[in-house]
C-alpha cells in the first residue's frame, strides 16, 4: 500500500500539486485520471521519487519514502516496476537483454537462471520466442509495452506504476495491455497505480479512481460511483463523448 499525505509540488511560481492525499491499495488497480496538464504525471514522478515533494509525505507500506536518503530510496526502488508512456526500453539492448537487465544488476542468480526468469516473464506477457533477439525499434508499440511490463515484473515488484499504458495503441491492443496489468496486479498481489485518460481502461480494470483537477484531488470513488456522480468536473471529463453519455444514461436506468 502507498499512502500519500498532503503533498504539494511547485515549479518556480506554478503550484502543480496542492495538498493531495491518497490511499493506494495493495492488490488493486488504483487509477489516477484527469485532463492534460492537471498534474497527473508530476504526481506519478513524485510517487516514484523522480521529483522531490515540497510538502507532505509519501509512505510505501509505512516506510517514509519521500524522506529517505539516496541509498535507502535506491533499496525501495528495487521493489518498484514502472511502465513508461513511451515504454523506455533500452534501444541498444535486445528484447531479452532488456528484461534480463534488472536481474543482471540486482540478483545473485547465475546467468542461466537470469535468462530463464527473463524468458518466463516474456512468455507471461505473451511475447513469442522469435522476438527475444529483436531490438525495440524492430517490434510494434504493443509489443514494446508488453516487453516493458515483462521488464517491470522481472524482479517481482511490490509496486507497479503505469504512465498512460495505452497511449498510441489501437483499442484491441489497449485491452490486451489493460488485462495484463489487471492480471499481474492480482497474481502478484501488488499495489498498481495507473495514470490514464483512456475511459475504456478506467471502466475495464480500475478498482479505485482518483480524479485530479487543477493540481488537487477533486474526486475519488469506484467504477460504479463514477457512473452516478454529480461532480460537474468529473462529469465533464468522463462523459465528454456521446458514447459515454449514453452509457451513463443506460446505467442509471438500470
Amino acid at each position: 500500500m502507498i499512502t500519500v499525505e498532503n503533498i504539494s509540488k511547485s515549479f518556480e511560481t506554478k503550484d502543480v500539486l496542492k495538498n493531495i492525499n491518497l490511499d493506494l491499495k495493495r492488490g488493486e488497480v488504483n487509477m489516477i485520471i484527469g485532463k492534460s496538464g492537471a498534474g497527473k504525471s508530476v504526481l506519478l514522478k513524485c510517487l516514484v521519487g523522480l521529483f522531490d515533494v515540497d510538502k507532505g509525505r509519501i509512505l510505501y507500506d509505512d516506510r517514509p519514502f519521500s524522506e529517505m536518503g539516496y541509498q535507502k530510496k535506491k533499496e525501495v526502488r528495487k521493489e518498484v516496476g514502472m511502465l513508461f508512456q513511451g515504454s523506455a526500453l533500452f534501444d541498444s539492448k535486445t528484447v531479452l537483454e532488456n528484461v534480463m537487465f534488472p536481474l543482471t544488476i540486482f540478483s545473485d542468480k547465475s546467468p542461466e537462471e537470469i535468462k530463464e526468469r527473463a524468458l518466463f516473464c516474456l512468455r507471461r506477457v505473451n511475447i513469442e520466442e522469435h522476438a527475444d533477439h529483436l531490438f525495440p525499434a524492430e517490434i510494434s508499440g504493443g509489443m514494446q509495452k508488453r516487453v516493458a511490463i515483462a521488464r517491470a515484473i522481472a524482479l517481482q515488484p511490490r509496486y507497479l506504476f503505469c504512465d498512460e499504458p495505452n497511449s498510441g495503441l489501437d483499442p484491441q491492443t489497449s485491452i490486451v495491455i489493460d488485462n495484463l496489468i489487471k492480471e499481474i496486479t492480482v497474481e502478484l498481489d501488488i499495489t498498481t497505480i495507473v495514470i490514464s485518460h483512456d475511459m475504456n481502461s478506467v471502466m475495464e480494470i480500475s478498482d479505485t479512481i482518483s480524479f485530479i483537477h487543477n493540481g488537487q484531488k477533486w474526486w475519488e470513488g469506484s467504477r460504479d460511483d463514477i457512473m452516478t456522480t454529480d461532480n460537474q468536473e468529473v462529469v465533464d471529463f468522463v462523459y465528454a463523448s456521446n458514447f459515454m453519455k449514453t452509457l451513463r444514461e443506460n446505467f442509471n436506468k438500470g
Binding site: 523522480l50 535506491k74 514502472m82 523506455a88 533500452f90 534501444d91 543482471t104 506504476f161
Partner: protein
C-alpha cells in the same frame, strides 16, 4: 543558467558518476564495450588524418626551411616534434571531440528524452555511474594509445611525402626524426591526451544528461558538447603547455 550553475551541476554529475558502481562486473563489461566504441571506432579517422597531417607538415617545413644555412634533417626533426607536441595530442583530440563527443551527447540526450535514464533510476540503478563512468574510464585508457598511433602514423606520413615528392631525401628525413629526440615530449603528449579524454567524455556526458525536449534539443546538445569541448581543450592546451614545457 549561469556558468557557475553549470559548473556546480557538472561537479555533482561527476561525483555521482564516480560513486561506487552497483555491480563492478557489469560496469567493467561496459568499459570494454566503450573502449571498442571510442578506441577501435576512432582508429580509421585518426589514421587518415595523421598520415596526411604528417605529409603536409613535412612539405610545409621543406618550403619554409629552404635556407641553405638550415640543415636538411631539420624538416624531419620539426615534423616529428610538431606531431608529438601538438598535432597528435591536440588536433586529434579536437577531431575526437567531434566524433566521440557528439556521439556521447546524442546517445545520452536521446536516452534522457525517451525516459530511458528515468527507467534506470526507478530500477534503483545509478544512471550516472552506469552510463558515464565507463565512457570516461574507457577514454582515459584508449586516448594515450590513439595519440601514440597518431605520432607514428604522422611521422610515417612525412616519410611517404619525402619518398614521393623528394623535397627532402629519405635518408635525411629518417636521420631528422631520430635526431635530438626528447623523451619528455612523449610524456607531455600523453599527459595532454589524458586531460583531453576527460574533458571530451565528461563535457559530452554532461550535455547529454541536461537535455530535455525532443530531437532538436538532442541535436543542440551534440553541437554544444563539441563546441564546449573544443574550447576547453584549447584552454587546457595552453595551461598544460605553460606548466609542462616552460622552465
Amino acid at each position: 543558467m549561469s556558468i557557475f550553475t553549470h559548473l556546480g551541476k557538472y561537479y555533482i554529475l561527476m561525483a555521482q558518476a564516480f560513486a561506487k558502481p552497483d555491480k563492478f562486473k557489469v560496469v567493467w563489461k561496459r568499459v570494454i564495450d566503450e573502449m571498442e566504441a571510442i578506441g577501435i571506432g576512432s582508429i580509421p579517422i585518426v589514421a587518415i588524418l595523421s598520415v596526411f597531417m604528417g605529409a603536409v607538415t613535412l612539405l610545409q617545413m621543406a618550403y619554409n626551411f629552404s635556407n641553405p644555412l638550415v640543415p636538411d634533417y631539420t624538416e624531419g626533426l620539426a615534423t616529428r616534434d610538431t606531431m608529438i607536441l601538438e598535432f597528435a595530442p591536440t588536433i586529434i583530440s579536437l577531431i575526437l571531440a567531434g566524433k566521440v563527443g557528439s556521439s556521447i551527447a546524442g546517445n545520452l540526450g536521446t536516452m534522457k528524452v525517451t525516459e530511458q535514464i528515468d527507467a534506470l533510476e526507478i530500477m534503483g540503478v545509478n544512471p550516472q555511474s552506469y552510463l558515464i563512468m565507463p565512457k570516461v574510464v574507457a577514454a582515459l585508457f584508449v586516448f594515450p594509445f590513439i595519440v601514440v598511433i597518431a605520432i607514428f602514423l604522422g611521422t610515417f606520413g612525412g616519410y611517404v611525402a619525402s619518398l614521393l615528392t623528394g623535397v627532402v631525401s629519405v635518408e635525411k628525413y629518417v636521420f631528422g626524426i631520430q635526431y635530438d629526440f626528447e623523451p619528455f615530449y612523449v610524456t607531455y603528449a600523453l599527459i595532454k591526451a589524458e586531460f583531453f579524454a576527460l574533458i571530451i567524455t565528461s563535457v559530452a556526458s554532461y550535455q547529454g544528461f541536461i537535455t530535455s525536449g525532443g530531437a532538436k534539443e538532442v541535436g543542440d546538445s551534440g553541437t554544444r558538447a563539441v563546441v564546449y569541448s573544443c574550447i576547453i581543450i584549447l584552454l587546457f592546451d595552453l595551461i598544460l603547455t605553460q606548466l609542462l614545457l616552460t622552465v
